[in-house]
């Protein structure tokens, strides 16, 4: 499974980088006369409501999905690692404050909070990233806090203190590295979550603005042609499903390799 996941993700990354060169068509070029046409030899996935090549748009959309996922996961995990390690290592009052904030954010259904945030900030890709990061970091914080609590008991952490190392040094050298493998697993799975969330927000018109191709906006456009031209919806939907599956396979596989105990 980890191999399948790896292949899918690697392929998606390749597509995201090489995207424009893989298709003969410009994702924004319109061929209005052939709008809503189904798959054919010249357009293997058909044409959309403006007569644009769906394959070209899916290839281009991969870039948006991966980019959003990557940025969200990076911001969330770095923020989460910082607050989680501080809370777990120092404990006490600092921990109380951070843990309460995490609890509160976790109590909201994440996607609703993101929708509310984007609605307030205004629809744009940047605000989607921001909103998903605001809800995303808490998972990492909670994970790393737990690991930091455990790490504090490790004798080598005590030994480092006995050798005169200060707290920032101990956190960076001894606490974060022990948490890092689980963070990588969480981040891989987090990519899947962020990709779905971005698609959902774009589907609702809160994310990527036309004409930039995104899988979410493609789903949105296909909605009104669900019965007369289902290929508008099916192909981006399948693309999302495959990529999300890929990240989930990869994440689960990594988790099993890194720490078999975590998988239950």
């Amino acid at each position: 499974m980890i191999r399948v996941g790896f292949v899918i993700v690697a392929l998606a990354v390749f597509v995201a980088i090489a995207g424009p060169f893989l298709s003969a068509y410009d994702p924004n070029a319109q061929e209005l006369a052939r709008r809503l046409e189904g798959p054919s030899l010249s357009h293997p996935l058909g044409l959309d409501e403006l007569g644009r090549d769906i394959l070209a748009r899916i290839l281009a959309g991969a870039r948006v999905s991966l980019l959003v996922g990557l940025v969200v996961v990076t911001i969330s995990s770095v923020t989460g690692m910082f607050f989680g390690s501080v809370a777990g290592y120092f404990g006490g009052r600092v921990d109380d404050v951070i843990s309460r904030v995490v609890d509160v954010l976790m109590a909201f259904p994440g996607i609703l909070l993101a929708i509310a945030l984007v609605a307030v900030l205004g629809p744009s890709l940047r605000n989607v990233v921001l909103a998903l990061s605001v809800i995303g970091w808490v998972g990492y914080a909670r994970l790393v806090r737990g690991q930091a609590l455990r790490a504090r008991e490790f004798e080598f952490v005590q030994a480092a203190r006995a050798l005169g190392a200060g707290s920032p040094r101990i956190v960076l050298r001894h606490v974060l590295p022990t948490a890092f493998p689980s963070v990588v697993v969480q981040a891989t799975l987090g990519m899947a979550g962020a990709i779905i969330a971005e698609a959902a927000l774009s589907f609702l018109g809160l994310g990527v603005q036309p004409p930039t191709p995104s899988w979410g906006t493609m789903l949105d456009a296909g909605r009104s042609h669900l019965f007369d031209a289902p290929h508008l919806t099916i192909f981006p939907g399948v693309a999302i499903a495959i990529l999300v599956l890929g990240f989930n396979f990869l994440g689960d596989g990594l988790r099993d390799r890194i720490d078999p105990k975590m998988s239950q």
């Binding site: 080598f156 030994a159 006995a162 050798l163 005169g164 190392a165």
Partner: protein
Amino acid sequence: MPERAPLLTVEHLTTGFQVRDGFVPAVIDVSFHVSAGDTLCIVGESGSGKSVTALSIMRLVEPPGRIAEGRIIFNGHDLLTVSEREMQAIRGAQIALIFQEPMTALNPVFTIGNQIEETLRVHGRATRRTAPQQAIDLLAAVSIPEPQKRVRDYPHQLSGGMRQRALIAMSLACEPSLVIADEPTTALDVTIQAQILELLRDLQQRMGLALLLITHDLGVVAEMADRVAVMYAGRIVEEAPVRALFDDPKHPYTRGLMGSIPGGAPGTRLRAIQGTVPPLGALPPGCAFAPRCPERFDPCPKAPPGTTDFGGGRGVKCYLHGPAVEPQVAPPAPVERV
């Protein structure tokens, strides 16, 4: 032997843990001193407060633990009054603590060399350029064969004895003047124990270290100590130069310990005395040893005995040797409201 000014003097140290019902002492009114070139052994059963004493000196007791009383004078400064930053500069550089478990005291994800270099860098004793060679030299100094290869090993690649040598190299990297070794050989098998002890003795002589060696093993005491402090249930119940202690143990607990080492072979555990150390917070009101003491008599359960001084560095807390009662160290009575 002329008595040098002590490098470390611990006075009336009381350290304990805050629990729901109040403060429970694990180390009670402990006083001792160690000079350069001198080895003081603290010996006692598991749970008697030895490690808490060591952590108190390093100021590494973590909440809910806290140092409630006392002074820890190192090199003329009271460590309990210096800032945390000053304390960090002292830890590892002037006072080193060697842990019992060399496997867990080393971080499994870094090489031996990396961990020694890190210690040097923490205290600014090496640059990126000089550190690798210094690490090799340090491993050579603790007699690890092929040190230029071993620096690249991870802890799990070394045997227990080699790991403890590496840990000692790490602890001594910044040339501390006081070394506290908390049961440094307990996790090792007997022949390796003897080698590590010999290494410690050798390093102590070469570097003129003050060595505070914590053990539950009277064999180790006989091998290493200049002076001995016998600890029981948080208190030092007897202190004596090593010969005097073995020739004429005065405290019934010490005698019990002696009875438990046939020939003083290293590695022998203290288990010949009936019963166990009373748990924290359940100390009897009088002499803490009274429930197990074969020589218990009238005054014993009433109040803890104080120190009877025999001169020549000998002191005993036991009513068999004098009527001294421990000065009241309990917290002051609550102020009465009218």
